[in-house]
């Protein structure tokens, strides 16, 4: 992440496309918080790469300005990793829905957390498949009914507990209805050196009539002020990550200093791979090995 002297304003992050979200969607809050964080960090759009999956969440990069790669459903992380590894100078932010991240993308989710490459992963968790018109997601509450799940959804996954199990170096939760908190979390995620997971509770007024803005508002409580909570304590973090119901914690749940994958081997060289010169002749010595 590189800072610049030019003053970055919210206009620099104006929408590149007409916004197609429903009125009242929690995604607006996330978009606002992301822009605010980027402006506060004074990051210019061209230094940022936003990668997203498919879902309502996946449209976010279209609604601001940056380099962007809108990938397949469930496949936001792999291209982000490819891009980051070859050009570490990019500030990489990745956007997924709960289905995108924890359903279709489950395997990448676990492995990306374990790999600890420097990027920020924002998961819009509306506990439902929004874009496809309301099916249960991996985080839908037990019994949540939809047309596809008329007997009600099965027991949800606890992604933040998975994150702690994967030793994810930054695990946080925030709420789309709390601009200040969320944008602070996003800033912290971006400045964190390593893989930062930020799950955002995001009301979907169109398809989730259970976990509404009000429902979340009544339940969320902040860890951030709480001196008795230590996000460096993995056991405590595991228990905190499992907390869900009458009270839902938001804030930094787990943080761990861990080496970065990209610094582990010498394979990347000093300069970003994108800037390295291509020279066929350098391989002459390799040919000798086949003599």
């Amino acid at each position: 992440m590189t800072m610049t002297s030019a003053k970055v304003t919210i206009e620099d992050y104006a929408a590149a496309s007409e916004i197609a979200w429903c009125p009242g969607c929690g995604d607006f809050g996330i978009l606002r918080a992301v822009k605010k964080a980027l402006v506060e960090l004074q990051l210019e759009p061209h230094r940022v790469l936003m990668v997203s999956g498919i879902g309502q969440s996946g449209k976010l990069p279209h609604y601001t300005k940056s380099n962007m790669f809108n990938s397949l459903h469930g496949r936001a992380l792999p291209p982000a990793i490819g891009a980051k590894l070859v050009n570490p100078e990019l500030t990489v932010m990745v956007f997924s829905g709960d289905g995108d991240a924890y359903g279709e993308g489950g395997n990448h989710f676990i492995n990306a957390m374990n790999r600890n490459i420097d990027m920020t992963y924002i998961v819009h968790n509306n506990q439902v498949y929004g874009l496809t018109k309301g099916q249960a997601s991996p985080t839908s509450d037990l019994g949540f009914t939809t047309r596809l799940n008329p007997e009600g959804a099965w027991v949800p996954l606890r992604p933040l507990a998975l994150a702690v199990a994967c030793d994810c170096s930054f695990v946080a939760r925030s709420f789309a209805g709390d601009l200040e908190h969320l944008s602070k979390m996003v800033q912290a995620g971006i400045t964190h050196k390593g893989f930062a997971l930020i799950e955002v509770l995001q009301p979907c007024p169109s398809w989730n009539r259970v976990n509404t803005f009000k429902w979340y508002s009544e339940r969320v409580y902040k860890l951030d002020g709480d001196k008795s909570y230590n996000p460096a304590d993995r056991t405590a973090a595991f228990n905190k990550a499992l907390e869900w119901g009458e009270r839902i914690p938001i804030g930094l749940i787990y943080k761990k200093d861990r080496p970065l994958f990209e610094e582990y081997t010498g394979a990347f060289g000093k300069e970003p791979l994108v800037k390295q010169k291509l020279d066929p002749m350098q391989f002459e010595s390799l040919l000798d090995e086949f003599k």
């Binding site: 809108n70 980051k84 066929p280 391989f283």
Partner: protein
């Protein structure tokens, strides 16, 4: 005088068949010969039966031959399974102290006490394989120094004692075989030059080298026979040349990482086999839609499903042509042999980047694993053509940038993220020139046409197929990919029998060189398509693209590679 000599080394998996064969191959090349060596092994780590043939010739060879001159049996089963393949007067070398069986008459057997020789000469019974190589080399009276040099090269990293021990064991085998050489066995292989300007390598080593030479800077993959070797070769060079090889959690991830790396601006590649390719095809379509260059090596093996994981087949041509949802341009190249594998890989990177779309390199297990001696690659001939990739200077002058600008060629000039201040946006949804999601019919139509126009441009860069004409030929043998060597040899052998046939071989398959193929086939009364699959995939493709139905096919789908002998045999029914 023509020399065409065939060793077969056989034993259990884990017994060292492949290293014996490798040493033999290498020293024969260093003695000035052309060498082709195939590998036949089961999907297991220990036990079972594996073998390798080392074919040595003073004329070009590029395929296996089934008849054996020297059988080097590391176990009993090898003799049982392969004695029927021995030529008249061939010799089978075995260690009668460990293989205690009477093989009766018929073939010539040379009992060499390999373990004893190794133990006596080098106090190490584990060096019996080296003694075996020595015996084989001694039998044909080859230059021992070439073997000794090779062994020293191989073993010095384990200490000079190990190296010299091996040399001694080899010498013991060599001497024993010379002394006990059956009288009837008179074939000799004398060095006729040196291999200085030649390389011995497999098809997948050539692909790996080609990728590196072409400037590949990022590889991601998931192990799968027969392409793990590509990943492994490059991984071994990762640090020296800054080419990370990322072992992904699965092929989906590998493919999509490559697309991300390609978007960010490097040449990137993945390699897999059919099963893994299945998992990559959605990402392939993503590359097509986002116009991201990428190279995918599809190393075929017999399917469906897991099939025969360590065998060969050409059963995924059509799958490669149509894999992925929706329609988008792609290149499909199918190297004809080891040398071609290098150059086609270079070309794949150029096509992918010039046309900003995926290029698939179709290989197979046989090409992947067979060694061939080839002229040293001239790296100065490797041209890296990055197409319409804008220079930093060009980018710095831009005030706005449209990643998917409509152009006549369909190719949009490409800027990279952070190359300047412009923003590079792309989308797997249908999008406008700026790369942002759209829904309207008009933009959709124009974008599809733009992308498909690139296919036309690419077609103009496709080389003519390989063609060998013989005067008076009535038939043409048609093939693709790795079978080239066997088909070409069949042509020659038939020529000697007075049967003239032409050869038409495709190593660049898509966009399809329809005119060249059509005119060549129309020139001949008969056309026989030879391929390693059950449904005649190239034959169908020819019909699709030219309307011409081949008069016959020779299809083989038992997992074993073609030989010229096999083709000639089968041709009797077809011609």
């Amino acid at each position: 005088m023509a020399l065409d000599f065939n060793f077969l080394v056989g034993g259990e998996a884990g017994q060292g068949v492949q290293s014996v064969s490798f040493v033999l191959s290498k020293i024969m090349m260093r003695g000035g010969y052309n060498v082709y060596s195939d590998q036949d092994f089961e999907s297991r780590i220990r036990g079972g039966h594996s073998f390798s043939r080392v074919r040595v010739s003073n004329k070009p060879v590029a395929a296996l031959s089934e008849k054996i001159d020297v059988l080097l049996a590391l176990n009993e089963e090898t003799i049982d399974l392969h004695r029927k393949e021995m030529k008249d007067g061939a010799v089978a070398i075995f260690d009668g102290e460990s293989i205690k069986k009477d093989f009766g008459d018929g073939e010539t057997f040379l009992n060499v006490p390999l373990v004893r020789l190794a133990t006596e000469a080098a106090q190490n019974r584990l060096m019996s394989n080296t003694a075996a190589i020595g015996a084989a080399v001694g039998l044909v009276d080859f230059d021992f120094n070439l073997l000794a040099g090779m062994l020293r090269e191989q073993f010095t990293r384990h200490g000079s004692e190990v190296a010299e021990g091996n040399v001694k064991a080899a010498q013991a085998g060599y001497d024993y075989a010379r002394q006990h050489c059956p009288e009837k066995f008179t074939r000799r292989i004398k060095p006729i030059g040196n291999g200085d300007n030649r390389l011995l390598l497999t098809g997948h080593e050539a692909v790996a080298l080609g990728a590196m030479a072409a400037g590949c800077k990022f590889v991601s993959g998931y192990p799968m026979t027969p392409t793990t070797s590509i990943l492994e070769y490059i991984a071994g060079q990762s640090k020296s040349f800054n080419i990370p090889v990322i072992q992904a959690e699965d092929e989906i991830s590998a493919m999509c990482m490559v697309v991300g790396a390609g978007y960010a601006g490097v040449r990137a590649m993945t390699a897999t086999s059919g099963g893994g390719f299945c998992l990559m095809v959605e990402g392939l379509s993503l590359a097509g839609m986002t116009e991201t260059p990428c190279v995918v090596v599809l190393g075929q093996r017999p399917g469906p499903a897991i099939g025969l994981p360590t065998r060969t087949e050409q059963g995924e041509l059509w799958f490669a042509l149509h894999a992925g949802h929706g329609e988008f341009p792609r290149a499909v190249l199918a190297p004809a042999n080891v040398e071609d594998a290098f150059w086609k890989t270079v070309k794949a990177f150029n096509l992918a980047e010039k046309y900003q779309t995926p290029a698939i390199i179709l290989t197979d297990h046989d090409l992947a694993n067979s060694y061939l001696s080839v002229p040293r690659f001239d790296l100065a001939q490797v041209k890296i053509d990055r197409g319409q990739l804008l220079s930093d200077e060009e980018v710095s002058k831009l005030t706005e940038y449209k990643r998917h600008l409509f152009t006549d060629s369909g190719i949009s000039p490409r800027a990279l993220p952070l190359q300047g201040k412009v923003l590079v946006a792309t989308d797997s949804d249908e999008h406008n020139e700026e790369g942002h999601i759209i829904e309207d019919a008009e933009t959709r139509k124009r974008m599809m046409l733009k992308r498909m126009r690139k296919q036309e441009g690419m077609k103009s860069e496709i080389d003519k197929p390989i063609i060998h004409r013989k005067r008076g030929a009535k038939a043409v043998l048609v093939g693709w990919g790795s079978t080239y060597g066997a088909i070409k040899e069949a042509q020659e052998l038939l020529g000697k029998e007075g049967v003239a046939v032409n050869v038409l071989h495709l190593n660049e398959i898509w966009p399809f060189p329809d005119k060249a193929v059509a005119s060549m086939i129309e020139d001949s009364v008969k056309s026989v398509v030879i391929e390693s699959n059950a449904t005649g995939q190239l034959a169908r493709l020819i019909r699709t693209e030219t309307g011409i139905k081949a008069t016959g096919t020779i299809l083989k789908f038992d997992g074993r590679p073609f030989s010229a002998e096999y083709i000639i045999d089968e041709l009797k029914d077809v011609l």
